[in-house]
């Protein structure tokens, strides 16, 4: 009688150890794929592994990481944002025009666009609409607005933004510091605070949350507003790097952001996301995109296709490894 529970207890804890190990390994996977890409680059071109090399290669990693974080908030609530790319483009156009010429108007427009994101969250929840449809529609709205603001490429980033993005700290390249900072802040906010639990819980078991008396409308609005906020930061960072804007500048970010979240260990449903993983995923994608391919001497005509192939290989490898653990 006394032996039985002890025995099951032991069995239970070894089973849990196994699961904990599996979870740890899954958590390390994103870092592993980043290391793999870095090794490939180091092998192809050892000189790239330097302060200057990283500053150059990871140049675009900051906006991609921010857009990935934006997408991650939406995915945390079991939704998907297909408009984040054109939204980043729209923000870029506002940054290169209004924010420089009439900062107050520019700030108001950007705050308003975050408000629009919050409203979309409310609409999706209240009318029980599929977010894919709503955000696909919105992607055309943002694109249209961007073209209205900036019919042809041009504009100029505000000087303070240019100097911020050109910041050269000693020893560690700025993109790496920025990535660490983004990951730390979002990790604390979403994974450690008491309301972050509620936000993630809304993706895990919405019915249970509602039964416990939490407002699902509020969680959805907060998640979408955070997506809007990080979309704005992404667009501004992008223009700070490129110095001028183009209405189509962010179009590729939608899929990059989704891939970054998944590469970082997130799942489309169930509220399972990881901010640190998402940032690592974004860095991996940024590196795998152009630097690696250039070093591999792949002609520019083929780079887009090769980029896609790398994405498929990395994601497939992740799926295979995490499936074996189950």
């Amino acid at each position: 009688m006394t032996a039985a529970p002890i025995e099951t207890g032991l069995k239970g804890s070894s089973e849990r150890d196994r699961l904990a190990r599996a979870r740890l390994l899954r958590g390390l996977l994103p870092a592993l794929s980043l290391v793999l890409v870095l090794l490939a680059i180091a092998w192809l071109n050892p000189r790239a592994i330097s302060y200057f090399g990283f500053s150059l290669m990871l140049n675009l990693a900051i906006p991609i990481a921010l857009a990935t974080i934006a997408q991650m908030f939406v995915i945390a609530g079991n939704e998907l944002d297909l408009s984040i790319g054109t939204f980043v483009g729209f923000v870029g156009c506002v940054t290169a025009t209004w924010l420089k010429d009439a900062p107050l108007v520019g700030v108001l427009i950007l705050l308003g666009s975050i408000g629009v994101y919050a409203l979309l969250g409310a609409l999706i929840y209240l009318r029980n609409l599929p977010s894919i449809v709503v955000t696909l529609g919105m992607s055309f709205v943002w694109q249209g607005l961007a073209i209205l603001i900036l019919p042809k490429p041009g504009g100029k980033a505000p000087d303070w933004l240019l100097s911020l993005m050109a910041f050269k700290p000693p020893l560690i390249p700025f993109p790496i510091i920025a990535a660490l900072l983004i990951a730390a802040v979002v990790h604390f906010g979403l994974m450690r605070t008491s309301y972050g639990v509620i936000l993630r819980g809304s993706g895990g078991n919405a019915a249970a949350l509602e039964r416990a008396g939490w407002s699902l409308l509020k969680t959805k609005v907060v998640l979408f507003a955070l997506a809007g906020l990080f979309g704005v930061l992404s667009g501004m960072a992008l223009i700070g790097i490129t110095t001028s804007a183009d209405a189509n500048i962010g179009n590729g970010y939608t899929l990059l952001a989704i891939a970054g979240v998944i590469l970082g260990g997130g799942e489309f449903v169930g509220g399972r996301v990881s901010p640190i993983g998402a940032v690592i995923g974004a860095l991996t994608l940024a590196l795998a995109a152009s630097p690696l391919l250039t070093f591999m001497h792949i002609p520019p005509d083929w780079q887009v296709a090769a980029n896609g192939a790398i994405l498929i290989i990395v994601l497939a490898a992740r799926m295979l490894i995490s499936r074996r653990e189950r």
Binding site: P5, S194, V197, R200, A208, L209
Partner: protein
């Protein structure tokens, strides 16, 4: 305003105490609830006193869950009133019930699988916030787990989805008993031991007794009648959306409980018919053994037989039907199927109906081979088939080309029966197809099923309604994915079914 309630008299059962109502934690008077045409609760009076453990028993669909959702505030009664500690609550809701100290552990698990045990605790406690909330939440849930389930080996940092289902249930139960800012007066435990082994179930039930000894209350819903008989102070029996008995637990024994739950009313009508027309054994149609069956029991069906699959909901009946359905297309070990099969789905909205299609198309889909003319589907043949079944089964519609949703629920179900019966299938699998169907339609379909069986068709009929088993020649009772009893029609009594399916693992 306690004086408002002094005139309320609990007419059901033992107590008729005037003025005692403000001792009640909660009291529902004349609670009624309809879901569409289905009456889930028909004027229920129910109350729980302070320091009392009330056992609530009844069949699937007797209305227990609906009643508990009202107590917890997740459902609002269509009519009737709710009073907590003698105060009538006009706007009763989840936050209000929580404020008043009413907690509920629902049957379906309500942990967030992606969160840790401590984080799941936080969800039920808005007060767990600010610096150090993780530590506080972890301490809170660990202390309660230690108290209820000593030696539980659950860590507060475990992710819920990594825990076994039994441990998840332990966490959920323990969480319901944790206290921060809101008081704790009443805990509803809906099948709390369904995933626990005998040892932990014993720990929980012992804790429940300690808990009510401190003057707080508990509602215990369980299909294990022994648990209820031993641990409840008072037992309330529900049937067909009504409370049919409420008495001290000592006044019940197992037999009385089973009889009260069952309602031993007359149902000789169909029974007699079935008994007389018991067919001589035709050729074998199905021989199947459930995947989890360990002994030699197996389901055997011959041509012309109506086979009932009984037992509590979700104990492997649907799984077996689906396995048989799959085995008809691709051979499978342990299952032998000798004729074409058709399935009538239980959840018609998600598994049965093609929502965009007309009634005729919905009926014809199982018989496309016969309706074909060259490469195309012949509209005439489709219309003929649909029309034949409209007359035969009585689908009430002006035009079979109307969308399937133009039909009432019962008629939609008839269309699904027409799909199966109009096909070449010699074996018809029915996955509790009469859920939420009105009694008139039911009787028509019963007649049809018996008629078709007389022509040599075989029916495997899973049902949660014991009365429907009267139509069957042979009944297999399921428990935990296994066949635990095999009854002939003449051996069938409600009591036997209940006893087999409720068999306590004591």
């Amino acid at each position: 305003m306690p004086e408002d309630n002094t005139d309320i008299v609990g007419l059901n059962g033992a107590e008729k105490r005037f003025g005692a109502s403000n001792m009640d934690i909660i009291r529902l008077d004349g609670a009624e609830k309809h879901f569409g045409a289905v009456r889930a609760l028909a004027g229920v009076d129910f109350h729980v006193g302070a320091g009392e453990c009330v056992g609530l028993v009844g069949h699937n669909g007797a209305g227990k869950s609906t009643l508990m959702h009202m107590v917890a505030g997740t459902l609002v009664p269509d009519s009737g009133r709710i009073a907590v500690r003698g105060h009538v609550e006009d706007n009763y809701s989840v936050p209000r019930s929580q404020q008043l100290g009413i907690r509920c552990v629902f049957q379906e698990l309500s942990l967030c699988p992606n969160l840790s045990v401590a984080e799941n605790t936080r969800i039920n406690h808005p007060a767990l916030r600010g610096l150090g909330w993780r530590r506080k939440a972890a301490d809170l849930i660990t202390a309660k787990l230690d108290e209820i389930f000593p030696g539980h080996s659950i860590s507060a940092s475990d992710i819920a989805s990594d825990l076994s289902i039994g441990r998840r249930q332990m966490v959920e139960v323990a969480r319901a008993f944790t206290v921060t800012q809101d008081p704790l007066e009443l805990v509803i435990l809906d099948e709390p031991t369904s995933s626990l082994d005998a040892h932990t179930a014993g720990q929980l039930l012992a804790f429940v007794r300690r808990f009510v000894a401190t003057g707080r209350s508990c509602i215990l819903i369980s299909h294990v009648l022994g648990e209820v008989l031993q641990h409840a102070d008072r037992i309330v029996v529900m049937r067909d959306g009504k409370v049919v008995a409420s008495d001290a637990a000592k006044a019940f024994d197992r037999d009385r409980l089973v009889t009260t739950m069952g309602g031993a009313e007359a149902r000789e009508k169909i029974a007699a018919e079935i008994a007389t027309q018991k067919p001589e054994t035709g050729p074998l149609r199905v021989r199947a053994r459930p995947a989890r069956q360990e002994d030699g029991n197996e389901l055997v069906a011959h041509a012309g037989e109506i086979i009932g699959l009984a037992g509590l909901a979700g104990h492997g009946q649907t799984d077996l039907l689906l396995a048989i359905f799959a085995a008809a297309a691709r051979s499978k070990t342990g299952i032998e199927v000798t004729a074409p099969v058709a399935l009538v789905a239980g959840d018609r909205q998600s598994d049965g109906i093609f929502p965009q299609w007309s009634i005729a198309q919905n009926i014809g889909i199982r018989s496309l081979k016969r309706l074909r003319n060259g490469l195309l589907i012949s509209p005439q043949r489709e219309a003929e088939l649909a029309d034949f079944w409209r007359k035969k089964i009585g689908i009430r519609t002006p035009d079979m080309n109307n969308n399937i949703f133009s039909l009432s629920g019962g008629n939609q179900q008839k269309a699904l029966f027409a799909r199966a019966l109009g096909s070449d299938a010699k074996i018809v699998l029915m996955d509790d197809p009469m859920r939420g169907v009105d009694i008139g339609t039911k009787l028509e379909v019963y007649d049809l099923v018996r008629e078709e069986a007389g022509r040599g068709r075989t029916f495997l009929w899973y049902t949660t309604e014991t009365e429907e088993l009267d139509n069957c020649h042979q009944i297999y009772v399921f428990k935990n994915g296994r066949i635990v009893a095999n009854l002939r029609r003449d051996e069938l009594t409600e009591k036997k079914i209940i006893q087999s399916s409720f068999g306590d693992a004591a």
